[in-house]
């Protein structure tokens, strides 16, 4: 049973290993002569004009909230897709109702401008 997850294990080991190797290689191979300017946060080579840690505007929160909602919608497709052949047409209609109701919400969001990025 668990053998099915070996590819996932390999993938996560590769991903973690890649990150760690990169850090290790940079640390070991490069010269390390820090100065005030070098330790400053890098922003396209420009001198920073304001502290980098700032409060994010609330619009990020709205986007994250909407992402979460549509993510939940998306997750419910997985078990449905597995048994769709067994459910036949009624199963299709069932999901159609769900998606159509949410489509109303999507249209509402779109028209209300929730998906446009305010400057």
């Amino acid at each position: 049973m668990l053998t099915e997850y070996i590819p996932i294990l390999i993938l996560s080991l590769l991903a973690g290993g890649f990150a760690l190797t990169n850090i290790a290689v940079t640390l070991l191979s490069g010269p390390y002569r820090p100065s005030r300017e070098k330790l400053a946060p890098y922003e396209s080579g420009m001198t920073e004009i304001q502290p980098p840690r700032q409060r994010f505007p609330v619009k990020f929160y709205v986007i994250a909230m909407l992402f979460l909602l549509f993510d939940i919608e998306g997750v419910s497709f997985f078990p449905w897709a597995i048994i769709l052949r067994g459910l036949r047409f009624p199963g299709f209609v069932e999901m159609l109702i769900f998606v159509l109701i949410l489509a109303v919400g999507y249209v509402f969001l779109w028209k209300k401008g929730a998906l446009t990025w305010e400057r």
Partner: protein
Amino acid sequence: MMLVVSVPLHVTLADWGSILPELVVTGGFLVLLLADAFIPVRRTEVATGIALLTILLAFLAAMNLWSHGMAASLYDTVSSDKFAVFFDFVILVSAALTALLSPSYIRYSHFDPGEFYALILASAVGMMFMAAAISLMVIFIALELLSLALYILSGFERSRPESQEAGFKYFLLSSFASAFLVYGMAMVYGATGTTRILQIATCLGHGAGCSAAASASPLLYIGVGLMLVGFAFKVSIVPFHMWTPDVYQGAPTPVTAFMSVTTKAAVFAAFIRVFNFALAPIESHWYGVVWALAIVTMVVGNIVALVQTSMKRLLAYSGIAHAGYILVALAADNALGQTSVAFYFLAYAFMNIGAFVVVAVMESQEGPVGDEIASYRGLFYRNPSLAGATAVFMFSLAGFPLTAGFVAKYLAFSAAVQAHHTDLAIIGVLTSLISIYYYLRVVYVMLRRPEVPGVQSPPTPAAADLAAWIAVAGTIGLGIIPTGFLNLATQSVTAIRYIFGLP
């Protein structure tokens, strides 16, 4: 190898027909959203019109269901029995009164009318499904639907910090209570192996393959306790009532009016289905706790109400006290008790929303101080009709004869006596006597001579005026000729008891 196992789905048109009132309101909700998206509903009248039309259509559908319905449908998750339909009536009447009361407030506070009414309707959908739910799953999701809409509505007045505080406080505390409820439901499911209310009752009565072990497992009792906490929070029963005054005071007044009645109605309907029916076989185990909660709620609600200076806080503590009276009827666990809960909410819809109509009118005329009881001074001389209506609501909430409140309380307490819980009835009557003081204080303040004599109030907005008169008519009508409505309540309870094989 692709193995196709057939998974038949059985849903008929009759299934959908049995939830027609809810579907109508859902439809109205979606129509309002689309209308708001495409033709931004700037005019409050348009949104109010769509909302009222939806409520009217749903009311007609509910009346139709009353004569034809009464079947469990959609895989036994919702029932269209008369008990559910009766609560549909209560919720729809409350929603209609709220829709009449809201327009002036919406204009005054610059709300988006489309979103406002969409949320009211969404909340009503949740409430109606909660009252009709015969599966723990539907109870939970319907509760979340109604609560989520109400959290947003409570914080809808973004320009006022109190409203934001109310929305946030309600959201945090109430979702914590929802967690208790759903955790309890999971445990009850673990112990009984079903989420259906009828089957839980069968299982706990040692039928349907359940042995005595199921009704003796600690899991069941932990689950029942957690569910009790969840329900008690939602209907603001002491000691889970702390949120009520702050939220009632901070939320926009039409929202407070709506939620003060309908949330309690919907949750109590589910509360009755779960505790009086599903958990009836283990009544001796939960009775003591409910008994204590009812007494504490009646005593604390009424005593703390004595010292309030804000009308909305007074009505919040009054609401807590009324939750206590209703809990007495639930603890009675008999047909009369359930009938009185149903009737109580019909009466409560008129008298309590009526009282909040007055608060909303006062706030629109006097600004935020309109919430202070002191600002009611001399109202009889400034605006006699509004003061008269207020007096009717106060008398009814206090339970004076010839008002709806009297009949409701009388029924609740006689149910307790009939079930040999005379102690609860006596405490109920005694605490009602305390309540007379704070209700009549409002009437007394209105009768005092105004500080500046001869000033007349500006005219009441027509829609709010209509809501007030409907509420007065309902309050007095149910008080003088309760028989017809009582008959409906009895029929609704007979229907649900029949399903569970009770007389």
